[in-house]
């Protein structure tokens, strides 16, 4: 177990390094830099003026030098400063990350919490009209793009309950009720596709398990159907579900980018998207590094959960 954790930590470092190089190069491949974005289209500027502005931001140095400067500083724990506001990037992230984490964790918990009953019900009531209804809803849930669903919900709530504030973000400490009421729509938007996907995975994996010999054995030795379902079938059917959850968490982060944009929530997604569109290089690098780290750690967690669910899984 210890050896396994050690090996995975080494993997983590390797992944982080690879991602940092990749992101560093990729964002510089996007045409246009911070200076050009600042000036905008149809602005008069001499080549000397352009060079002077680039020099101030350190964009005139060779790319290797820029990377070396960034890497050595990052290893010392200094992720640099945001190009235009000058605030330390670590401070920027510390402020935004909790907002996105709250949004994604809440969506995840709700999606999993509802996916289990949905999966069980659809597996048990196979071919009933209730199952067709749930399947219809879940296929719709998977296929609806979240930017569309989010906008639709905003308009719907505005028509039906105009007093309900749905946009923006208020800290919990400042106004707990306002905080939660603004979270409802984003969480629905984010969790619905995931709920639908997870429910379907659980249904098919449960159907597989229910057809296996040991279930028949369990039933024939007279166990209550509840025990068969919860102690034997569900536990085995959970393994594919956990794998899918691990992958879905990554998508959840991607989905948060869209949802935060639609609902004007100042989380990590807005931060990264804004940073990319204004070519705020140090901010993109710092933020992506952190997101990568979170993603790798979650995958590690998923592997550990396997062992808990299935004692046959061993780590070496």
């Amino acid at each position: 177990m210890i050896a396994f954790l050690f090996k995975r930590s080494l993997d983590l470092l390797f992944v982080l390094f690879g991602v940092s190089v990749l992101v560093f190069l990729m964002i510089r491949l996007i045409p246009g830099d911070a200076v050009e974005i600042m000036l905008g289209a149809n602005t008069e500027i001499t080549p000397e003026g352009l060079a002077a502005l680039r020099e101030k931001l350190g964009l005139n140095k060779p790319i290797f030098v820029q990377y070396w400067d960034w890497l050595t500083a990052a290893l010392r724990g200094d992720l640099g400063q945001s190009v235009w506001t000058g605030r330390p990037i670590s401070e920027e992230i510390v402020q935004r990350l909790p907002i996105t984490l709250e949004l994604t964790v809440l969506s995840l918990v709700i999606a999993i919490g509802l996916a289990i009953p949905v999966g069980v019900l659809t597996a048990y009531w196979r071919n009933s009209s209730a199952e067709y209804l749930i399947r219809l809803v879940s296929i719709t849930g998977v296929t609806l793009p979240s930017f569309w669903l989010g906008t639709l919900l905003i308009f719907l709530v505005f028509k039906l309950a105009p007093g309900w504030q749905t946009l923006g973000y208020v800290p919990f400490a400042q106004d707990p009720w306002g905080h939660l009421s603004r979270l409802v729509l984003p969480v629905i938007t984010l969790s619905l596709p995931m709920l639908a996907g997870l429910g379907r995975v659980l249904r098919s994996s449960l159907l597989d398990v229910l057809n296996q010999d040991f279930i028949r054995t369990a039933r024939s030795k007279g166990l209550a159907e509840r025990t068969v379902l919860y102690k034997h079938a569900l536990r085995n059917a959970m393994i594919p579900l956990v794998t899918v959850i691990g992958i879905q968490v990554g998508y959840l982060f991607g989905g948060a980018i869209v949802v935060e944009q639609v609902f004007a929530i100042p989380g990590m997604g807005r931060l990264i998207l804004g940073a990319i569109s204004e070519r705020n290089y140090p901010l993109i690098q710092g933020a992506i590094l952190l997101v990568t780290m979170t993603f790798v750690l979650i995958n590690l967690l998923v592997d550990l959960v396997y062992a808990k669910l299935d004692p046959r899984v061993e780590y070496a």
Partner: protein, 502 residues
């Protein structure tokens, strides 16, 4: 109560309500929905619209441009111009203080103008005042500006130069991050991609202004979110919105539209250094193929006017002066054949993707051009990529939107003079160059008029830009937002007169 008395009472009550409504009230925060986050807040460098709507409240210039696009006194109380048009003497307003409490002097103004002129600053405004030879503060309240040639738009250009505190800049403050000026609102806080907060400047020299306690620019990139935000009252003011959004908001309760003529215009730019648009006949043919009124209807929902090279009402020649504005696909084909392209032409058109109006207009233009043998391959680009291609003249044609200037020289010279700083078309015409120089160095307005009329004729049909449409400038506000007046340059100076009715 009989009817007559009731009527009188009602009239009295109405009058009372009316007079109450007419009296501005102090206080409140105006929640603004802005579509983009600014890249820096140094007005000498960051001139893009997202920066300008913020810095325009923090800073002021010697002059300011009013709603009729005339310069009027701001930090300068008055001025005189020598008879040769080369020396401007400004009397500087006394009793004006910066947000940090220090008094503003002529020295600060001289410093600010010179900061713009300094090549190390990298200011896009520098070339606008390149005829300035010397700036001197002769006393705390007198400033003398010497020019190397007479320059008609001088007073208008000075409105665009924000006055900074010399001490504050020299103390090493980062002007992109911590702006500080003499304007009605002072910088308070900037949370990137979330909001910018400005606070009322209690020492502002216009007595009793501003009325609002604070301005909060909420950054809301999604147009649907801005729309619902305004409808539900989360935001109270959306400056300068797309015509399509204006049409949707027109019927929203408790929301009003504030309109003005917009100086910004949509355009198709043509690269005069590449085939086939190096040929003036091809450029003329393209103009014949475009139906501008159709674009006004389809893209601007009727809120706009076909554009000639100048949008300023006082300077623009009537559309009838330009023969190519009578749409005629056969004439276009004929011209193309004369230019040696009897089978039509294939070319690329890049489109700035950040502006919905432009993207819509490009699609309509593409259809119109197809009928005259112009086969455009339209490519909508992300803003950063578009700007790079534009600056490097790496296009056959492009579709974009340009902001306008209050003086005709402000747009025409840099765009059409040989080697002009935004002449990305690589257009060069000796006649146009001669007229442009004449226009800017002639000070009398009467004498300038015929020059600019000639220029418009030269440029309208065979120039490198097919001007499409001048739109209507729409801002949307909640009903209780009072006192705001729009200005065609899109400047928001009247936020200082804006107040919130209870």
């Amino acid at each position: 109560m009989n009817g007559r008395w009731f009527g009188l009472l009602a009239a009295l009550l109405l009058a009372m309500g009316w007079s109450l409504a007419q009296n501005p009230v102090r206080g409140g925060t105006l929640q603004i929905g802005a579509d983009a986050s600014p890249s820096g807040l140094d007005p000498h460098v960051a001139t893009a619209f997202a920066s300008f709507i913020v810095t325009g409240q923090i800073y002021e210039g010697l002059t300011e441009i009013d709603e009729r696009l005339r310069p009027r006194p701001a930090l300068a109380e008055s001025w005189s111009v020598s008879s040769d048009g080369l020396t401007y003497t400004f009397r500087i307003r006394s009793g004006v203080t910066f947000h940090d409490g220090k008094a503003m002097t002529a020295g600060d103004i001289a410093f600010s103008i010179n900061r713009v002129r300094d090549t190390k600053t990298g200011s896009p405004i520098a070339s606008r005042i390149n005829l300035v030879k010397d700036v001197k503060a002769t006393s705390a309240t007198q400033l003398v500006v010497e020019l190397s040639q007479p320059f008609a738009p001088m007073l208008i250009e000075l409105a665009g130069i924000a006055v900074m505190s010399e001490d504050y800049v020299k103390a090493g403050n980062d002007m992109q991050r911590r702006p500080m000026g003499t304007g009605p609102f002072a910088f308070k806080e900037w949370v990137p991609d979330t909001y910018i907060l400005l606070e009322r400047n209690a020492r502002y020299w216009r007595q009793g202004r501003p009325y609002l306690d604070a301005l909060r620019y909420n950054i809301v990139p999604d147009p649907a979110t801005r729309q619902v935000g305004l409808a539900s009252g989360t935001y109270q003011f959306l400056p300068n919105i797309d015509p399509s959004l204006a049409v949707t908001l027109r019927t929203t309760p408790n929301v009003k539209l504030i309109t003005a003529q917009d100086l910004a215009y949509t355009l198709i730019g043509m690269n005069a250094s590449r085939k086939p648009f190096d040929n003036p006949r091809v450029r003329e043919a393209l103009n014949y193929a475009i139906n501008r009124s159709q674009i006004v209807q389809a893209v601007y929902f009727g809120n706009g006017a076909p554009a000639g090279p100048l949008g300023l009402r006082s300077w623009a020649s009537p559309q009838g002066a330009f023969p190519c504005y009578n749409t005629n696909a056969n004439k276009a084909k004929e011209l193309l054949a004369q230019a040696g392209y009897a089978n039509g032409v294939d070319f690329g058109m890049i489109v700035i993707g950040s502006n919905k109006t432009v993207v819509d207009a490009a699609q309509v233009v593409q259809q119109q051009l197809a009928q005259a043998g112009f086969r455009a391959k339209v490519e909508v680009l992300e803003q950063g990529k578009f700007i790079q291609e534009w600056r490097n003249s790496n296009f056959d044609t492009f579709a974009s939107i340009n902001g306008g200037n209050a003086d005709p020289d402000g747009y025409l010279f840099r765009t059409f003079s040989t080697g002009g700083s935004t002449n990305v078309f690589k257009y060069s015409s000796p006649t146009v160059d001669r007229l442009l120089n004449q226009g800017r160095t002639t000070v009398s307005e009467e004498a300038r008029r015929p020059i600019y009329a000639r220029l418009q004729l030269e440029l309208a049909c065979q120039g490198p830009i097919a001007h499409l449409v001048y739109g209507t400038l729409f801002s949307a506000a909640r009903e209780n937002v009072q006192g705001f007046k729009p200005i065609p340059t899109r400047s928001l100076i009247y936020l200082r007169d804006t107040w919130l009715a209870r």
